[in-house]
Amino acid sequence: MEPSTQKLIHTFGALADLGQEIAGRGDFTEMVRTSMHLLLGTLALRRGAVAECIDEDKLRCVALWGVGEQTFTELSLTGAEKQEFLIGEVTEFLISNDATANLFINRHRPFLQQQEIELVLPMIVRDEVTGLVLLGRKASGEEFLSDDFETIRAMVRHIGVGIHTHRLLEQVAQRAEENRRLYEELRTIYKATVRAFAAAIDIKDKYTQGHSERVGRYSEIIAREMGWSEDEVEGIQIAGYLHDVGKLVVDRDIINAPYNINAKESNELNRHPSAGYEILAPINHPYADIPLMAKYHHERLDGRGYPDGLRDEQIPLGAKIVSLADSFDAMTTDRPYRRRRSFEDVVRDLRENSGKQFDGKVVAAFARAILKEVSGVTKERRITKMLAKDYLQGENVPTLLSDLIADLTNLTGAESGVQSYK
């Protein structure tokens, strides 16, 4: 093979490898190091270095080969020198004794000569000097030829673009990370605000303090058991916290009445889901359908609920979950006009009302979550802690739950499939 043909093939191979390296998404330093090796290996240059401009005048060494590591602590690139590189028609500068060569070279000549650097090329991308490439002599000892310069220029341009692109991507990633952090902070603030709001709702009802917080947590537990995504689980937790927000517009005396309220008072109280929807709808929540879950948490599968008398499929699954969490908390906490019900009684109620008031699949999911705690499958005690001391301590509790799950599975084919409330 003719030497010129072989050289051409060798150079083409290196350019192809360089393009692949620069287009890759690998580690930045490794990309520059490999690119530098490709450049050195193409012309068999014995030493070289690639430095990027940082801050004002500083150069940071990204890769070097055969050059002392102290090199770049000795080098800097001033604004005037950058300007000279930008306006000059020359794209590469030989280190010679020519005093007029270049400001940068004139300032660093003794050091560059000591390091056996023969050629300096600026990397210019979009009219900006992004760094310098320093190259040593050829292993052959020959002078650089014009086609060597062509090859070097092309490869240095590639490396410059590679560095520039990587830095841009890094900046984009950094900004995305900042945005993600800000978004997380906003979500945390949002959740803290919602919880404070939930506490404010519950304060209005002196007998149900902590109710909204518990409904939020029960809803979250049920949704998770049903296989919802983390985002959806967070959403329903918020919906649980806010489900009674409409009570803020209901007369405090009706909410706190220590007796069975009359029809007129009942109508007033039953306004709270719709009122809650009106309060929540104008807010741009980071989760879907929170206003609807508040509005429909008193709907029933048999159509006897309120405010709209919706039936089964018309009710969003999220609202069905909040509805069960709400009722469960009501049944398991003391109220002014009655004591909490026994767990056995609660399970009986859930079984009887599955398919009428509650969705059997939602009830089954909740029963599974409770069973996991009482049977020790999970070490978490989230539900147990929300209930009165010893409430789930009865020997028959696991059996009650297992039977309920079995009955509901037979009845509805309940399973923990993922269902979106969107």
Binding site: P3, H10, L40, G41, L45, K138, A139
Partner: protein
């Protein structure tokens, strides 16, 4: 032997000469392994290096750059270096790029060892 990055670089010593075997394709990955092994052998006191190319079909640009680095390190530590059993195409490449100005090219490992050591008979240990 270099055991980093998973696979091994074959090598052995004959007196104070280390013989390091290049793989079928001398690129970044394999080149860096050979470089590490050569540096290790020099650090262990070897005064000469033979890089054997009997399995090597192709050397790319990065491979050339790494070989130049090995030559540089060997020169700085006063060690001699020889390449053995290099195929014709790679010899042409080394000649074109000037690597042959810095290394001895030998027909095979035995010749490389003889050239570097001046011994008449060398016991080869694998």
């Amino acid at each position: 032997m270099d055991r980093t990055s998973g696979s091994l670089v074959r090598s052995h010593c004959v007196g104070t000469t280390a013989v390091v075997y290049a793989s079928d394709y001398l690129n970044k990955l394999t080149g860096e392994k050979i470089e590490r092994e050569c540096r290790r052998q020099l650090d262990c006191g070897c005064r000469a290096l033979v890089i054997d190319f009997s399995d090597t079909k192709l050397v790319n640009s990065i491979g050339i750059s790494i070989l130049l680095g090995i030559i540089d390190v060997a020169e700085k530590s006063g060690a001699k270096i020889a390449f053995s059993d290099v195929n014709n195409q790679t010899v042409q490449l080394f000649e074109m790029l000037g690597l042959t100005r810095h290394v001895v090219l030998a027909k095979d490992e035995r010749e490389a060892l003889l050239t570097l050591s001046g011994f008449e008979t060398i016991p080869i240990v694998h």
